[in-house]
C-alpha cells in the first residue's frame, strides 16, 4: 500500500505549484492556498479509487475544484450564520469607494430603477443578467447556460434593448456585442 502511495506522490508532486496558484487565482491568500493544495494532494494520494482510467492531472483538477467550491460554500454558510466575513474575502472584489452625497442620491435612484426593471424579466433572463453583471466571461456563461457563443450574444443584445426600454435610459458598459 505504501509503495502505491509513494508512487502516486512521485507522479503528482510536479503539479503542486499549479494547484497552489489555482487557489490563489480564486482569491484565497497565500497560506490558505497552500493549505488547500495540500488537502487536495492528501485526498488524491489516500484515495484508493484514484485513477479509474482517468489521467492523473485531470483527476487532480477535479478534486481541486471540488475542494475550492466546498470551502467557498462553507464560508458563504458562515456569513449567512452571521460570522461577518467581509464579502470581498469570498468574492474577491475591490474595496468600496466614498461617493459624494448628491451623486449617492442619484445613484440610489438609478439602482432602484435598474433592480425594478430586472425583476420584471423572466427567470432565465434574470439569471443571464446576474451572470453578466458578475463579470463572468462568455466562455463560463456558455458552459453554465449550455448556449453557443452566438446564442449568448444574441440573448444579451436582446436583454440590453429590453432593459433600456424598461429603465428608459442608456446602460453604460452593457455590451452584448
Amino acid at each position: 500500500m505504501n509503495n502505491d502511495r509513494e508512487r502516486q506522490f512521485r507522479q503528482l508532486e510536479a503539479y503542486y505549484g499549479r494547484v497552489v496558484l489555482f487557489f490563489k487565482q480564486l482569491g484565497f491568500d497565500r497560506e490558505e492556498a497552500k493549505d488547500l493544495a495540500q488537502d487536495v494532494f492528501v485526498r488524491v494520494i489516500q484515495s484508493r479509487d484514484a485513477y479509474r482510467g482517468e489521467a492523473r492531472w485531470s483527476y487532480l483538477q477535479t478534486i481541486a475544484r471540488r475542494t475550492a467550491a466546498n470551502e467557498l460554500r462553507r464560508r458563504a454558510a458562515l456569513m449567512r450564520a452571521g460570522a461577518h466575513l467581509p464579502m470581498d474575502a469570498v468574492a474577491g472584489k475591490a474595496d468600496e469607494q466614498i461617493v459624494p452625497a448628491d451623486e449617492e442620491a442619484g445613484s440610489n435612484e438609478n439602482r432602484k430603477r435598474l433592480r425594478q426593471a430586472i425583476a420584471k424579466l423572466d427567470a432565465k433572463s434574470q439569471t443571464l443578467i446576474r451572470m453578466y453583471m458578475a463579470g463572468d466571461s462568455y466562455r463560463e456563461m456558455e458552459r453554465a447556460l449550455h448556449m453557443t457563443e452566438n446564442a449568448l450574444k444574441t440573448a444579451l443584445r436582446d436583454l440590453r434593448a429590453r432593459l433600456r426600454q424598461l429603465v428608459g435610459e442608456e446602460l453604460e458598459g452593457f455590451g452584448g456585442d
Partner: protein
Amino acid sequence: MISREDWQTARDEMIAEGRQRYEPPTVEEVEKLFKGELGEAEADRVRNLLTYYPEMARAMTMPFPEEAEGVLTAEETEAGLAEIRRRAKLPPARLPRRRRTPSRPLALAAGIAVAVGIAGVAFWRSQLSQHEGVIKILYADGERGGLHRPRGPYEQAPIELETKTDYILKPVFRPSHAYREYRLELFDLNAAAPRSVWSRSGVEREADGSYQAELSTKNFPPGRYRLVLYGVDEAPVPLAVYTIRLYEP
C-alpha cells in the same frame, strides 16, 4: 444614463439579498449542472442559485494555470511537499548522497572506463539501429485505462511487450518544466526487491512529446517490469512510470 458603478452596486445588493434568502447549491449539483446531467427545471434552479454565489461557478469553470513559475519559493515547495508526505503517512524524502572527490589514479581509471563504455555503447547502438525496431508508444500509468476485477482492487493495466524483440520505445510525457536532460531506467519487478536491469541517459524530448530509446528484450525473461522516466537537473526526479508485462508470443 445607468453607469457602470450603478450596475456594480445593484449587483452587489442583489447578491447580498440572494445570499441571505438562498443557500448555495451543493458542489454535486453544480458538477451535474456543468455536465448537463440535470433536468431543465432543476438546471434552472441551480443556475439561479449560482448567480448569487458566482465564486462557486468560477471555481468549477476557471481554467487551470498552465505553469507556476515563481509562485512558490524552493523552500515553500519543499515544505509543502514534506507536509503532504507527513499527512499522507509517507516516509520523509531521501536526502541526495554526498559526492566524494575521487583520487587522481582512480579518476584516470574511471575516465578510461567511461571512454571504453561510450565506444561500446555506440557500437552496440549502431548494431541495433541497423535492425528494424518495433515502434511502441507508451502512455504513463494513470494516463491509460485500468482493469476492473470482479473482486479485489482496481489495477493499472500493464503495457504488453514481447520477448526477443527489438523495440523503439516512445514513452510520452509532458513535464511541468523543461529539464536539462532525461533518463529512462527499467526495473525488474519479478525479484523480491525491484532491481535495475537497463537504463539510458542523455535522452532528449522529441517534438512529439516522447522520449525515444531503443530497447532489445532478447535477454529479459517474461514477467513484470517498470520503466521510469526521470528528469535530471541536479538530481534525477522521477516524472512518470510505465508498468510493462513482457510475454512470450
